[in-house]
Amino acid sequence: MKRVRRAAIVSRVKGLAAEIRWLLGVSLCAILLSAANSAAADVSQGAQIAATCASCHHPTDGGQAIPPIATLDEQAIVKAMLAFRASESPSHVMHAVALSLSDDELAATARYLADRANAGRQP
């Protein structure tokens, strides 16, 4: 089961990275990594990068101007991050964060956060 799940994650993460490249008009060719390495690296890397989000985004409380990200799906995260990458307004902080992530890193992070959100919704 784990291998199946991991393969599914690889597929989704790679698909998302590809989508980001498409959105940016960048070539798709650069992201063909081996499935096994990609699964291990991307899942773990997503978790490590997501840890940095927690410096500003409260895990549960969204009432104080900085929105919660714990319930967002991956498309919403990617779209928001691409918008933040493109413009310094409305947030210096998110502009800096978005610029620091490669497409693959952003895909891995969005996937990781979305998986956490899904796990949280299960009874």
């Binding site: 927690a54 895990p59 549960t60 900085i66 714990a70 310094e88 964060v97």
Partner: protein
């Protein structure tokens, strides 16, 4: 509401790494042991993230049961927050994040024997040690300014009783008095903070003691966010704050506690209340353990935060030679996470990725006027270098500044929950 907590993030991160990385400690005879010295922002963060991995025994050594945050303590000085709202118990770390907390101080480190000796006599062995001692104040560099003098002329650069003392003095000062801030030379904890302090105390004076003045005697000729501060001072507090750089007054040489005066090379300034912020260096245990270089700070590998002087010992936070990274709580938190993953990698064989290091500071000019900066850093040539930097600009709309002040309050709540594992 959601079940997504940071405990789960850490747990999954650890699990994912362990699942793919031949974790020799888990498969072997015992769990790896990490000792963390210091329960401030860096130490609490690294302990929490390592503890959440569930694969490493984490012991945090800290003499105090609570931590009072330096960030936002200028709001307390201005009467805009209570000290209780800035105080966090370390018990949430112990209870929720699999960390053993020992209420004691480290007095010696033996890197060769991989052991730490505590004041109470306990000896702790470790596989990896993380030292997060914060700053020590260089008492004695200003003649007459020692720990006793700080009871009359507080530094308030470590939040807690010193903040209470300074708040009390500001409150009891007569209208028309002069509040002197002696600002330190670089590098020091939280570069914009002396000037944020001047701004917020001016806000308090404007309401309750409008004839009072604030005089900043600076050991430097420029400071962080200078244009933003000076713009705000002219808008909010015209004529109230005077900044005197080193080139005008010379170095701060001495204080006279009895006269409450500050003596520079060229002049003597009498104060009603004097806030003396001395030069700083790494916390004392770092110096004692041979972790500091000639600068007084701890050189580290910018990827793993392992000391370049003592193998197996990592150093994070204000006490390191930070390169371009400022000495701030945000930097310490960011370094602590990179360090936690690097330590886990070294102990479990888990994959290691280039660290993502950030600093974002919210600085108050008035309760509804705040600015931000945001910086990213990357290791380059053995040091931490700025990659990108964005900062608020002079002339932003009042609405933008109000929103930034709101963000600051939200950030404080999230950040302290991240560090201490609870809500604020």
């Amino acid at each position: 509401m959601t079940d997504w907590t940071r405990r789960q993030i850490g747990g999954l991160a650890g699990g994912a790494m362990l699942a793919v990385a031949a974790p020799h400690f888990v498969r072997g005879q015992g769990r790896a042991k990490v000792v963390v010295i210091g329960g401030g922002i860096g130490g609490a963060t690294v302990a929490r993230y390592l503890g959440d991995m569930k694969s490493i025994d984490v012991t945090l050594v800290e003499p105090n049961s609570t931590h009072v945050t330096c960030f936002f303590s200028n709001l307390y000085l201005a009467g805009l927050r209570s000290l209780a709202s800035l105080t966090f118990g370390l018990e949430t770390l112990a209870e929720g994040h699999d960390i053993t907390i020992i209420r004691d101080s480290a007095v010696a480190i033996d890197p060769a024997g991989k052991a730490v000796e505590l004041r109470g006599g306990t000896k702790l062995s470790y596989d990896r040690l993380v030292v997060a001692p914060g700053i020590a104040l260089k008492f004695g560099e200003i003649e007459g300014y020692d720990e006793d003098a700080a009871k009359i002329m507080p530094h308030a650069w470590v939040a807690g009783p010193q903040s209470e003392l300074l708040r009390q003095q500001i409150k009891s000062m007569d209208d028309g008095g002069v509040f002197v801030i002696a600002a330190p030379p670089n590098p020091f904890r939280c570069p914009p903070a002396p000037y944020e302090r001047a701004s917020l105390v001016a806000y308090y004076f404007k309401q309750f003691k409008p004839k009072s003045k604030i005089l900043i005697l600076d050991a430097k000729d420029k400071f962080s966010g200078q244009e933003l501060f000076q713009d705000a001072w002219s808008r909010h507090y015209p004529g109230m704050i005077e900044w005197l750089p080193s080139q005008f007054i010379g170095a701060i040489k001495a204080v006279d506690v009895a006269a409450r005066s500050v003596v520079t090379e060229g002049e003597t300034f009498r104060a009603a209340v004097a806030n003396i912020i001395p030069a700083q260096k790494a916390g004392l245990i770092a110096e004692k353990a041979g972790l500091t270089d000639a600068s007084g700070w701890c050189p580290v590998d910018p990827v793993t935060f392992e000391s370049t002087l003592q193998p197996g010992v990592h150093v994070i936070g204000d006490s390191i030679v930070g390169g371009d990274m400022p000495k701030s709580a945000f930097s310490a938190n960011s370094q602590a996470k990179a360090c936690a993953f690097a330590v886990a990698a070294s102990l479990t064989g888990s994959p290691q990725f280039p660290p993502h290091l950030f600093n974002a500071c919210y600085t108050f000019l008035a309760p509804d006027d705040a600015f931000t900066n945001a910086l990213t850093f990357a290791p380059e040539g053995g040091r931490l270098k700025t990659v990108k930097m964005f900062i608020s600009k002079v002339g932003e709309s009042p609405e933008t500044r109000r929103r930034t002040a709101l963000h600051a309050v939200g950030w404080y709540s999230a950040f302290t929950a991240d560090v201490f594992g609870g809500g604020s």
